[in-house]
């Protein structure tokens, strides 16, 4: 009975999609917001990477919420997983190659991650992408040496202050009489590292937050023992 209703539901969904497919015209409508942003972003925001301009300036509110969702998922994950039980079984030792490789990788990943975060307003990339690389930089040593635990207190400290930093920059704009999350600071020269006002600062906050959060979440998942 349940399979029948599921199959019927899928059939309905498939028909719906086929109908949409039929009537959709490809590439016909001009993106109103997108075109306008492409024209004015360089002067209004000063970032060479327009996607960053959208992520941090035009739709900065969405980015704040995205950060919050990640934070909430990490908090809820911590709530669900709880503390690792004492005497939990550990993964077996990982061998020399993995350990040596992880030691070599760590500084490389740090550099790449920080580079991508800092150049988010100039080249493709930014806080989220760089943050994930940073998270892997801090997680790979845990994979290489099972049993080493992450310092969760430091992680939650970085997490909290980075997120608060993002909102504070947004609130600072309000103190100056502008709206929440208006871009601040001097825009500088387009294409230079120090340009686009407060956008690089926002991305640094994002990168630190995402990096610490993901690393903490992954560490917590790996510390929770598998069932026997």
């Amino acid at each position: 009975m349940r399979r029948l209703s599921s199959a019927l539901f899928l059939l309905g969904l498939g028909l719906l999609i086929a109908a949409i497919f039929q009537t959709m015209e490809f590439g016909s409508v001009a993106p109103i917001a997108g075109q306008a942003i492409n024209t004015v972003a360089a002067e209004q925001v000063g970032a060479a990477n327009f996607v960053t301009a959208v992520v941090l300036a035009y739709r900065g509110f969405d980015t704040l919420l995205e950060l919050t969702i990640l934070f909430t998922a990490a908090t809820a994950g911590g709530l669900v997983l709880g503390k690792p039980r004492a005497g939990a079984s550990r993964d077996p030792d990982s061998g020399f190659i993995l350990r040596a490789g992880a030691d070599l990788f760590f500084p490389l990943l740090l550099v790449v991650g920080l580079y991508i975060i800092l150049h988010g307003h100039l080249t493709p990339g930014g806080g989220f992408q760089g943050g994930v690389i940073l998270a892997s930089a801090f997680f790979i040593p845990i994979l290489a040496r099972p049993g080493t635990s992450m310092n969760h207190r430091r992680v939650s400290l970085i997490e909290g202050f980075a997120g608060a930093g993002f909102i504070l920059i947004g609130l600072l704009a309000m103190l100056g009489g502008k709206e929440f999350l208006s871009p601040l600071l001097d825009q500088g020269e387009l294409g230079a590292l120090l340009s686009a006002g407060s956008l690089p600062l926002l991305y640094i906050a994002v990168g630190l937050k995402v990096g610490s959060e993901l690393a903490g979440l992954l560490a917590q998942l790996s510390e929770t023992e598998a069932t026997d």
Binding site: I17, F26, Q35, N38, V54, D62, E66, L70, V80, L221
Partner: protein, 147 residues
């Protein structure tokens, strides 16, 4: 890119959505259902990206002062960035929950989990299920709990 490439991409997006939905609705193992969610989200993200795609457009980035003639729409790229991060967060939470369910019930088969869930709810409330074989136990635990 030609019109045909657009068709292929749209088919891919809708196909992913269908496959993901099929996975969620028809699977009986919780981890497969979570994979289905991941596929479904991938399909929806792809569809969002394709929404205002224009053939022959360049990335909306100013490189060395050169502004491309036809720039792609930056908005869906930002939207999909957000959507992917949301998906990652939810997936991580789903796996944590699956871990705890596995630890509590010893199984991740959907039918068994539903059954155990019903038993748990009924047990907490102190009522017995119609076809439950441990009805006497439920009564005894209730009485023990009240004593």
């Amino acid at each position: 890119m030609t019109m045909d490439t657009g068709l292929i991409l749209y088919t891919a997006a809708f196909g992913l959505i269908l496959i993901g939905s099929a996975g969620i609705v028809l699977s009986t193992h919780l981890v497969r259902i979570i994979f289905g969610i991941a596929l479904l989200e991938a399909g929806a993200n792809l569809l969002l990206l394709l929404a205002t795609y224009r053939a022959g457009s360049a990335a909306p980035i100013i490189v060395e002062g050169r502004i491309p003639a036809v720039m792609a729409d930056p908005v869906p790229q930002a939207l999909v960035l957000t959507a992917i991060v949301i998906g990652v967060g939810i997936l991580a939470l789903a796996l944590s929950l699956a871990l705890r369910v596995q630890r509590a019930y010893g199984t991740l088969d959907l039918r068994e989990v539903r059954q155990r869930l019903e038993q748990d709810i009924a047990g907490e409330a102190g009522i017995d299920l119609p076809s439950s074989s441990d009805a006497p136990q439920a009564v005894m635990t209730r009485q023990e709990g009240q004593a």
